[in-house]
Amino acid sequence: MNKLVIAATVNGDPVEFLTDPGGSLLDALREELLLTGTKEGCGSGDCGACTVILDGEMVCSCLVFAAEAQGRQIATIEGVAEGGRLHPIQRKFLDHAALQCGFCTPGFIVAARSLLDRNPDPSESEVRYWLAGNLCRCTGYDKIVRAVLDAAAELRQERRVEGELAA
């Protein structure tokens, strides 16, 4: 079986990788590009540990063929921090102790960022339903939801300050 050569953009950088025609984007990220921050918990799209952003849409990378990434933009957990500066969601996860084992954490952070990019002021209920595709078995979700709400508040404050400075 011949492998396919795929060219895509991952976290802003151009990449090329090989994949079997039936290979998943998750396997390509982890095995070919060595971006192991994106996790596999089920391989069937039920746990959200493999969540990435594909052309702006939140997807389970285990359900996407690697070949589908040709020419497209992918954002993973490795691109959430800007250089050495953590994203507010990452900082709030640490401040709130919103992780125990940490295995589901990358998927939650990528999903939460996708939410806050769309909805800067979500209610608790909106956070819970947005994150309902991500399984966490350690925390009972309480501290995760609080961390996301707190990060949203901080991001709103940052934007207000930026707006005032611009004006």
């Binding site: 921050g37 089920c42 746990c47 953590l86 640490l94 309902a132 925390t139 979700y141 309480d142």
Partner: protein, 753 residues
């Protein structure tokens, strides 16, 4: 016990009770942390396991020739490659098991005993080739009748799983083998007579199903076995020393030849205290002469690793008119799956351990069926029987017209009361938990239509056990802590807090490493709610030894007697007030006697059980039977919380797992004994939108046997939720539903029945 009391530090503390960012936190929020599946080595092969499609079958033959001939296949392994072993009971994480059964769980030999049982394995140059090779292996099965139900498995005419298992715990010893490996019993007073004279008796038959720990990281390991006989294993687990010991025993190797490196672990809850893949990966590696990664899919995790036992519990509990419990009779059966799981004893100890009761008879049976062998799951053996007991107590409160908390307070154990084992309880805090629950605004908040409130209490016995802790100083005075206990939920942070508190230095001046099996002394698994208690004690004692050395070195540098030097806030202080900081002493250590380090190995005594009380509000939809959890409060005596945020997290996580157990989770099998829901879509664990915030109340009754008062906290919070939820559903509907999970169809039928 006397020598263990009176040593507790009174505070105030600099670090204990604070909430710093965990030392491994940034790695885990940026995707850099290396978990089990993230590890690879050069030249690595990819393994895969062929699993039985039958619940019970004799293996007449396995033909692996076609698979072995497939280009890219480097090794094939079957049960025939495993050494013959003598029966021997070995420690296996939180419980024990026969080494033959542990070996057969890794790879079937003569028979397969459950759907998913491993029968052969291959290693190939790619994962795809390995999967193709599995399809070329021909197994000749003689399918046998199977049994899934524990009561059916106890009958004389039931299909027999093992020829060599005879029930332990009955006299005279049986001459016929059976599916019943163990009977456990406990009796005091005259339970039957007490029940006959009781003013009220609550009776019932309760059942719970097989449930899985549901950690999100599947099992995986990489093994590399060299030509000189030495091997390395990289794996995430709750105990790399357990992996070393069990793999060595299964393969007949010396422990000197197996070095196990702990990787970050993505959840375990007891399910990663043993071995499944490691000996298989080792044999593949030896045959191939290359490192082999062997990983499970989610389906394999469900079908072939150990869930918690399902249970059948029959009980009668009686009380006097004032609510005083007078007698109880409990008979329970734990369905252990294919091999003995030794969880019945915990059921015996935890069933009534939280109440004073003069007359009690408890009998427990462990029964084998054609399901995967059970493994520890958070407070193993306790939640099932607690569900029945706390449901019955609720019924008694209703019958007698007594408030549920008042009923429990009237009978709650206090320090000095006898435990089920006969030993008196130490400084326990069940009464304090019940009082805190009663004082919580949740307990008296108003409820709406179709809503109900339930409460339940429970205990987990916790553990101490063997641990090693090391503290060494870098040249600038940094405290370098090494421990042999995997960090599954923030224990690096608690170790750093306790070491910094003891040394008197900033939290950031201490760094914690989880050391591999060849780099530190033995440590028992991270399990049994023991790590912050036992490994913490070892680390604290090592830090104290380092302080003693620092005082000697400072004294030598000053040329004064060591006993005139005080240690405070990370500084040696001479009688005249002259000071030397830890950094100043460490910098000169080479000249004052050599590097400063201490290693402490201990068997931590004085652990105390953890008590928990949970309050749950539900709303039942009478049209669909759906049960929604509206509000939840978890109260627990935690001794003293070292890092309160991670202690709260244990309470919240345990509650969420217990809610899933009560409402959704269960293994489902078809008529052929094949698991029907081996995936997260159909095995439905709670998601964020299923749950409310989970309020926590940390009651602190410090443990005198730990320098900072620690009690185990991880497991007790999964004990009360089953009954707390069921009692809430009863309050909402007026119906007692004795069978878990409380699925919409069952609730709907009860409401409309």
């Amino acid at each position: 016990m006397n020598d263990l009391s009176g040593k507790i530090a009174p505070g105030p503390f600099h670090h204990v009770g604070t909430r710093p960012v965990r030392p491994d936190g940034v790695e885990k929020v940026t995707g850099k942390a290396v978990f089990g599946p993230d590890f690879s080595v050069a030249g690595m092969l990819y393994g895969a396991i062929l699993r039985s499609p039958h619940a019970h079958a004799r293996i007449r033959g396995i033909d692996t020739r076609k698979a072995a001939a497939l280009p890219g296949v480097k090794a094939v392994v079957t049960g025939a490659d495993f050494p013959d072993l003598e029966s021997l009971t070995v420690s296996a994480g939180e419980s024990s098991g026969d080494i033959i059964h542990i070996s057969r769980t890794c790879m079937a030999h003569e028979k397969v005993l459950y759907d998913g049982h491993a029968v052969a394995a291959v290693a190939a140059t790619s994962a795809r080739i390995a999967q193709e090779a599995l399809a070329l292996i021909a197994v000749d099965y003689e399918v046998l009748p199977h049994v899934l139900d524990p009561e059916a498995a106890m009958r004389d005419d039931a299909p027999l799983l093992h020829d060599g298992i005879f029930t332990k715990g009955i006299e005279p010893a049986p001459e016929r083998p059976s599916n019943v490996p163990m009977k456990v019993a406990l009796a005091r007073g005259d339970a039957a007579a007490a029940l006959a004279g009781a003013a009220a008796v609550a009776a019932g038959r309760y059942t719970t199903e097989f449930v899985h720990q549901g950690y999100i990281e599947p099992h995986v390991c990489v093994a590399s076995w060299n030509a000189d006989g030495q091997a390395q294993i990289w794996a995430s687990s709750q105990g790399h020393f357990s992996i070393r010991a069990l793999t060595a025993s299964v393969l007949g190797m010396a422990q000197a030849d197996i070095r196990v490196h702990p990787l970050e672990i993505g959840g375990g809850f007891g399910g990663k205290t043993g071995i499944y893949l490691e000996p298989v990966a080792m044999l593949l590696s030896r045959k191939a002469g290359r490192p082999v990664r062997l990983a499970m899919s989610r389906g394999e995790v469900f079908r072939a690793t150990g869930p918690a036992p399902g249970a059948v519990i029959e009980l009668r509990i009686g009380a006097a008119a004032d609510g005083t419990l007078v007698g109880a009779e409990i008979d329970f059966i734990y369905n252990a799956g294919a091999y003995p799981g030794n969880t019945a004893h915990s059921g015996l100890i935890c069933a009534l351990g939280h109440y004073r009761l003069a007359n009690a008879r408890i009998t427990g049976w462990e029964v084998l069926t054609n399901r995967p062998a059970v493994k520890a799951y958070r407070a193993p053996g306790a939640p099932q029987v607690n569900f029945a007991v706390e449901s019955a107590l609720d019924d008694l409160a209703t019958q007698l017209g007594i408030d549920p908390i008042a009923l429990r307070l009237k009978n709650a154990v206090i320090p000095g009361d006898a435990q089920p084992t006969g030993v008196p309880f130490g400084q326990i805090g069940y009464v304090e938990c019940l009082e805190a629950a009663r004082a919580h605004p949740h307990w008296s908040a108003p409820l709406g239509p179709n809503q109900g409130r339930g409460l339940a209490g429970g205990l987990w016995r916790s553990h101490g056990g063997p641990s090693t802790g090391e503290v060494g100083l870098a040249e600038d005075g940094t405290g370098l802590v090494a421990a042999g206990s995997p960090d599954i939920g923030g224990s690096r942070a608690s170790m750093a807090i306790m070491a910094a508190e003891t040394l008197g230095v900033p939290y950031e001046q201490v760094r914690v490493t989880i050391a591999d099996t060849h780099s530190i002394g033995y440590s028992m698994v991270t399990g049994g709610s023991r790590t912050t208690f036992a490994t913490g004690k070892a680390v604290i004692e090592a830090a104290e030894q380092v302080i003693a050395t620092l005082r000697q070195r400072a004294a030598a540098m000053w040329n004064v007697a060591a006993d005139t030097v005080e240690w405070r806030d990370g500084t040696a202080i001479r009688a005249d007030g002259e000071r030397l900081s830890i950094g100043q002493i460490a910098a000169k250590a080479a000249f004052s006697g050599g590097p400063i380090a201490a290693s402490v190995g201990l068997n931590a005594a004085g652990y105390l059980p953890g008590f928990a009380v949970h309050i749950c509000d539900v709303e039942v939809d009478p049209e669909t039977g759906h049960v929604g959890v509206l509000r939840y409060t978890a109260v627990q005596d935690v001794g003293r919380a070292i890092h309160p945020a991670y202690v709260e997290g244990q309470l919240q996580g345990g509650a969420a797992q217990g809610i899933g157990w009560a409402l959704n989770e269960a293994y489902a099998y078809d008529a052929q004994g094949r698991m029907e829901n081996a995936g997260f879509l159909d095995y439905r664990m709670p998601v964020a939108s299923d749950l409310p915030m989970i309020d926590t109340v940390m009651v602190e009754v410090p443990n005198p046997a730990h320098p900072y008062g620690v009690k185990g906290v991880g497991e007790a919070p999964i004990v009360p939720p089953l009954a707390a939820v069921a009692n809430a559903v009863r309050a909402a509907t007026g119906k007692r539903l004795p069978d878990l999970p409380l699925t919409p169809d069952r609730v709907h039928a009860a409401v409309h029945g």
